[in-house]
């Protein structure tokens, strides 16, 4: 396995990080009836904090329903947060209007899971790639088209593809086009929302390598969202593990993967460990049940109903992120906070 890109320790970097998310919350109201009474909330993101430094890849991993796609959209302000702060380059963008955000959008772009669906089927590839250029007023006409050809080249496709339509490309090629479009405005942050999840394994590798190459060439930061730990581990500098709207563990990728501190991370990593391709001999931990609905989360620690090591405090008190190792690792688990007086450990 190739080693990850140069690690940057966010805590040691002077000046503001590229992206700083603090206590981000997003609740979607559930309405009922003609008058749209709010009868409850879907607590998709329930207090998330992390940072992304320049040139860094932060992996955001979790099951479906954990809230990671919502985080992606909050970060890009495609959604407005219910509470919390999102700072890009030190500047608060959580409360900005859409109009104010428009010029800022050129700095952060997104690559979607289903690239073909993210292209208007009636537009040629040229139009698809030049759209952000025109929308941002950067360039248009021939100039934009030339830039599009340049971008296609950068991702390994050809200028001859400019006049084709989206449905004429395979999945891998389409994703390259998606990346090309995302790069059009020279962004500094790229959010990859399950960018390789729908691709064949061999094509996945190609695209991941392209992403890494571009990161080095262009100095990009990535927020890489996925549910497949292998992929996340391959590309990330740091990993944040999400469960039911909260980050329950985060830290340098390799450390989190080889020595998980949170029981949930252990089950994920245990699943990897059992995979013969990755080797390792950790004991497999079986987890009970399914992730509950975010509209009705459990009290206390969100994982406690399924946690094999849960004890009484877990159901009453939400664990805060506690230091869990070097490199600024944290994990939100009461097990890290056991003293002889506050509970017994279950191992």
């Amino acid at each position: 396995m190739a080693s990850p890109a140069t690690q940057v320790d966010p805590a040691a970097t002077p000046g503001a990080p590229l992206m700083e998310v603090t206590d981000l919350v997003k609740h979607f109201p559930i309405t009922k009836g003609l008058l749209r009474r709010t009868v409850g909330h879907v607590r998709a993101v329930d207090g998330v904090s992390f940072t992304i430094g320049a040139g860094e890849t932060v992996g955001l991993v979790g099951e479906s329903g954990s809230g990671k796609s919502t985080v992606a959209r909050l970060v890009l302000r495609l959604l407005g947060p219910t509470a919390g702060s999102v700072k890009f380059d030190g500047r608060e963008i959580a409360g900005l209007s859409q109009r104010e955000l428009t010029p800022l959008r050129r700095n952060m772009q997104i690559v979607f899971q289903d690239p073909v669906s993210s292209f208007d089927p009636r537009m040629t590839i040229s139009s698809v790639i030049t759209e952000p250029l025109e929308a941002q007023g950067i360039s248009s006409g021939k100039q934009a088209r030339d830039r599009a050809a340049e971008l296609l080249d950068l991702v390994g496709l050809s200028g001859r593809d400019l006049d084709k339509y989206p449905h004429q490309f395979s999945g891998g090629q389409a994703q390259r086009i998606g990346i090309a479009r995302a790069l059009a405005t020279n962004p500094r942050l790229l959010v990859c929302d399950e960018a390789v999840s729908a691709l064949d394994v061999s094509v996945q590798a190609q695209v991941l390598n392209l992403l890494r190459k571009l990161q080095v060439e262009l100095g990009l930061s990535y927020l890489f969202i996925a549910h497949d730990l292998n992929v996340v581990r391959y590309i990330s500098d740091r990993i944040c593990v999400m469960y039911l709207g909260r980050i329950i563990e985060q830290g340098p990728a390799e450390a989190v993967m080889t020595d998980p501190q949170h029981p949930y991370t252990r089950t994920l990593a245990g699943a990897i460990a059992a995979d013969p391709r990755t080797g390792g001999g950790t004991r497999r931990v079986v987890v009970r049940g399914e992730m509950p609905s975010p509209s009705n989360p459990p009290s206390g620690c969100p994982f406690h109903p399924r946690c094999p090591q849960a004890f009484d405090r877990c159901s009453t008190e939400v664990p805060a992120p506690l230091p869990a190792g070097e490199g600024g690792r944290t994990a939100s688990c009461h097990l890290l906070d056991i003293t002889p007086t506050n509970g017994k450990a279950v191992r």
Binding site: R36, S117, D161
Partner: protein, 300 residues
């Protein structure tokens, strides 16, 4: 880099999926929908008759030939004359003009208003804009079409302008419903979200992504609505509250002729036949277009 595999630059698309836009699309329409093709021809004739009426019509449609009341079809009155001695063939041609004029004006007025309301409602679905506009549309739709038509037409008095107004009101909810439905679908599309992420303004999104994708269903609806408008105009004229005399209108001709059906059936047969043909053609064209745009059908 050796790890990056560019893959072949082009891929041949599977035969079932081809570009629908452009001239290739029209050819395919004609091949797979022969009825639609025939209907299209009839419509072209209809439009030609209407447009060229001043050149083709042998007589002034309001001129009364007082030596030839209720003349049998023959020469020189190809379709005979009516009770005031007016040439029916000329009146049928000019009647096409009236029908076409009313239908086009109604489609443009009602269509634009309906589409704007529908697109705005659909894009801002759930908000106050949507709620307010749709409540208004619901109220309009709750009134039975015929009642609405008669009320407005009788209130405003017979004239082409008032007929267009009345018919536009009738037609707006249809376009609203279709546009709103499409917009609800479109705004959930990933490419719309992607456009927003790129920094496209709402206006730009609606213009570049909304409207072009709206085109197909709107065309189908427009064609079917055309038929309805032609009939409605005839109905209003038949009742005397549509096109005022002596402007020829197929509906008014049917009304005049109904009193002479036993003596001079040509007064009714020719305008009635033209009406039937025109409406049938637009219906068939609408059906053909709907089948054409239906993805399940087109992957044959």
């Amino acid at each position: 880099m050796s790890e990056v595999d560019a893959g072949p630059a082009t891929v041949v698309a599977p035969p079932a999926v081809r570009a629908r836009a452009g001239r290739r699309g029209l050819g395919r329409l004609l091949r797979t929908q022969p009825l639609g093709a025939v209907a299209a021809v009839v419509i072209v004739l209809f439009v030609a008759a209407a447009a060229l009426a001043p050149f083709i019509a042998p007589f002034d449609p309001t001129a009364q030939h007082r030596d030839a009341f209720l003349a049998v079809p023959g020469s020189p009155y190809l379709m005979g004359t009516d009770d005031l001695g007016r040439d029916i063939f000329s009146r049928v041609l000019y009647g096409a003009r009236t029908s076409l004029l009313v239908a086009v004006c109604t489609l443009v007025a009602g269509g634009i208003i309906g589409i704007v309301i529908g697109v705005a409602s659909g894009y801002f679905a759930g908000g106050w804009v949507d709620t307010l506009l749709q409540r208004i549309m619901d109220t309009l739709m709750a009134i039975p079409g015929i009642v609405l038509l008669l009320f407005i037409a009788a209130l405003l008095g017979p004239s082409i302008r008032n007929t267009v107004i009345a018919l536009s009101l009738l037609v707006i909810p249809t376009f609203n419903r279709v546009s709103r439905g499409e917009m609800l679908r479109i705004r959930e599309e990933l490419y719309v979200e992607s456009a927003r992420a790129s920094g496209c303004s709402t206006w730009r999104i609606l213009r570049r992504h909304g409207l072009p994708n709206l085109l197909a269903p709107i065309l189908v609806v427009a064609s079917l609505t055309f038929a309805i408008i032609i009939i409605a105009e005839s109905a209003l004229s038949f009742l005397g509250i549509g096109t005022p005399p002596p402007t020829p209108s197929w509906g008014a001709m049917l009304s005049d002729g109904s009193r002479y059906m036993e003596i001079a059936p040509w007064m009714v047969v020719f305008p009635g036949g033209a009406l039937t043909l025109g409406v049938l053609a637009f219906n068939l064209l609408g059906d053909a277009m709907r089948d054409f745009f239906d993805p399940k059908q087109s992957s044959r």
